[in-house]
């Protein structure tokens, strides 16, 4: 039987969840035997396979329109979608932005900060993403597995992925279910 395919991407997070993935250390080599790692931020394929992957993983919540595209594509192409880490699960630290007016936040960063010179302006070229309210990914697409933690531990990641790769639904309990 072909190994189940896995793909991942990151949105409004800090990359820490993916670093915790690497913290599986030598178990990474074990994981490679269990699953076929496709498009991820560490590899060179750009998008999840068009004919689908077994496991799709998203780190980070949504804070711009590009993220919505990324997440919808991952949803369409994945059998199981994993919300990876607190940011994906409920918005996390980046969602603190929602306490402020978005334009004011942009204005501060690109015009009012004391080190910004007179060229200050809010980037608005068609090439740059349009910012939105910060959302958990389940607010936009259906999520099959919530894997909380900031970041989730390497043990929790290994357990979740190996269960899914074997076709079982992971049951996160005890130390694996971590909210900090």
């Amino acid at each position: 039987m072909a190994k189940p395919k896995v793909s991942s991407d990151w949105c409004a997070g800090c990359s820490g969840c993916h670093m915790s993935f690497l913290d599986m250390d030598e178990r990474l080599l074990e994981l490679v035997n269990l699953a076929d790692i496709r498009a991820t931020p560490f590899t060179d394929l750009k998008h999840p396979d068009e004919d689908g992957v077994q496991i799709g993983i998203i780190e980070g919540g949504i804070n711009n329109l590009t993220h919505i595209e990324v997440i919808k594509r991952m949803r369409e192409r994945s059998k199981y979608l994993v919300a990876f880490g607190d940011c994906a699960v409920f918005g996390g630290v980046p969602a603190m932005r929602n306490f402020f007016d978005l334009q004011e936040t942009l204005r501060y960063a690109y015009i009012d900060t004391i080190s910004t010179d007179e060229s200050g302006k809010i980037p608005n070229d068609p090439e740059v993403a349009v910012m939105t309210r910060v959302q958990a990914i389940s607010e936009v697409v259906k999520v099959d597995v919530f894997l909380p933690g900031c970041p989730p531990s390497a043990d929790a990641i290994f357990y979740t992925l190996s269960e899914l790769a074997k076709g079982r639904m992971p049951k996160l309990t005890g130390d694996l279910l971590n909210w900090h």
């Binding site: 949105c11 990359s15 670093m19 560490f42 711009n64 942009l106 010179d117």
Partner: protein
């Protein structure tokens, strides 16, 4: 009058999302190429009103790749705001953690992100041009690379309880001592780790010899070079003064981090969420400089640990004593720094104060303002805070490592596109080289996008009127 636009998105094997647009003229020549950093998170604004003591926990969430940089820079800024100078042992322990991070972060970049280009080749099949392909090609080396990163992460976890987003530094010091047993644990793996770093340098040297043609035509250009030094102008990662040298390698200025506003300003372009810091007296863009491993090794006169010191001397001869301008030598410089950090850890562990219990100064002398500065793996990081006496933040300004390299990354992308991408027969390997121009700087787009987060690369082909003709996203 069609100029075409090629888009590469996302740029892979970098930390974060970016896109590159390459504008192609009718005659097939390249008009220009741009790197767009495509994310904004707004930490500076949303930290307003938070408690100062929360900052060493909130700001690491800017970046899970170098969370320790933000953790420690926040603590250093908070020390100053409260006027609580940490006792010497606390500073030693913070420094120990910091070097753990440099090893894990730079080691990972060398072997796991950029490594596949070096070990498997720029033109290798993208489906295997990654760390897994490397594991299949050379499992022994891959295991060594994994263990190098693990060593750095374990130093962090021993001190801070966990590898990513630990709790350790607090205003005035740290919250945990180092036990004799923990010290032994770190020492036990030190020699092995040193060997892996030396192996990395050896691999890089061999690669450089075989590929010097690529190295010499791949984004070679002059800039200033910027970083922290100790009083002897030697490389300093945790605490020092900023030194900037010019294109010729001569010192332009030296200043205390607290005075950064007199010397650096940030320029904004509307096509990127990442700002462009530059040296104020020379103005934008002439005052642009490079940071991170290449910037630091060009800027520092020497390195104060024996093995890395020796390699630094060799590095200094690469361009006949002048600053090394070749972007691909970032990888070389990065491994020399990893070796330096391993040697530093060894020195710190020999220090009689390292297991002292005098780790926290609780006497406050409120100042209301502070600048925390250190050399993150990717370059100089500034956290600048102002707070009221009840410890609420009224102002936060962050200048992150990757930002300083924004000009250099954009310039490299433009140069490499002009050199390698031809209108006819654009190949995946050529596009990968354009990406590699970004990757060499090891940009941390998580950091860059504190203000800015994601880094997919897209190559768009654009015509003179700005219309997108074609988008390449390489899948």
């Amino acid at each position: 009058m069609a100029t075409q636009k090629i888009t590469i998105e996302p740029v892979t094997r970098i930390e974060g999302h970016a896109k590159i647009t390459v504008h192609v003229n009718d005659d097939g020549s390249i008009d220009m190429a741009r790197l767009h950093i495509n994310e904004f998170r707004g930490f500076e604004k949303f930290c307003e009103g938070r408690l100062l003591s929360e900052m060493p926990q909130i700001t690491p969430r800017i970046c899970g790749i170098c969370p320790i940089s933000h953790h420690l820079a926040a603590a250093k800024a908070a020390d100053q705001v409260l006027g609580m100078t940490p006792p010497r042992p606390a500073n030693l322990l913070r420094e120990l953690m910091h070097h753990g991070q440099i090893i894990q972060s730079s080691g990972m970049h060398f072997f796991e992100l950029a490594g596949p280009d070096l070990l498997l080749g720029f033109d290798a099949d993208p489906a295997i041009r990654n760390v897994i392909g490397m594991a299949e090609e050379n499992p022994e080396l891959t295991l060594k690379a994994i263990n190098l990163r693990k060593f750095g992460q374990e130093v962090i976890a021993i001190l801070g309880g966990r590898r990513i987003h630990p709790t350790f530094a607090v205003p005035g010091g740290v919250n945990k001592t180092l036990s004799p047993k923990e010290r032994e644990t770190i020492l036990a793996d030190l020699e092995e780790t040193k060997k892996t770093a030396q192996l990395g340098i050896f691999i890089m040297k061999g690669w450089a010899e075989r590929n010097h043609k690529d190295i010499d035509r791949f984004a070679v250009f002059p800039t200033g070079y910027f970083g922290l030094v100790n009083p002897d102008n030697q490389l300093e990662m945790y605490d020092g003064v900023v030194r900037l040298v010019g294109q010729d390698g001569n010192e332009l200025v030296k200043f205390a981090p607290e005075d950064y506003l007199d010397h650096i300003a940030e320029h904004v372009e509307n096509w990127s969420y990442l700002k462009f810091p530059y040296y104020k007296p020379m103005g934008w863009p002439d005052g642009s400089y490079r940071v991170g491993p290449l910037g630091r090794l060009n800027m520092a006169d020497s390195i104060d640990t024996p093995l890395a010191g020796q390699d630094h001397k060799i590095f200094k001869t690469l361009n006949g004593g002048k600053p090394v301008e070749n972007t691909l030598y970032y990888h070389y410089a990065r491994m020399i720094e990893v070796l330096h950090s391993i040697e530093k850890i060894e020195m710190l562990l020999q220090d009689p104060d390292i297991m002292s219990t005098d780790i926290l100064n609780t006497k406050e002398n409120f100042q209301g303002e502070g600048v925390g500065c250190l050399e993150a793996p990717r370059g100089t990081l500034f956290h600048h805070y102002r707070a009221t006496e009840d410890r609420r933040l009224t102002m936060v300004n962050l200048i992150v490592s990757t930002g300083h390299n924004n000009y250099a990354m954009c310039k490299s992308v433009d140069m490499v596109a002009k050199e390698y991408v031809k209108d006819h027969g654009i190949t995946e390997g050529m596009l990968n080289r354009v990406e590699a121009a970004v990757r060499a700087h090891d940009p941390c787009l998580s950091c860059s996008t504190h203000a800015v987060g994601q880094m997919p690369i897209v190559i768009d082909v654009i015509d003179k009127s700005g219309e997108t003709i074609q988008t390449f996203s390489r899948d």
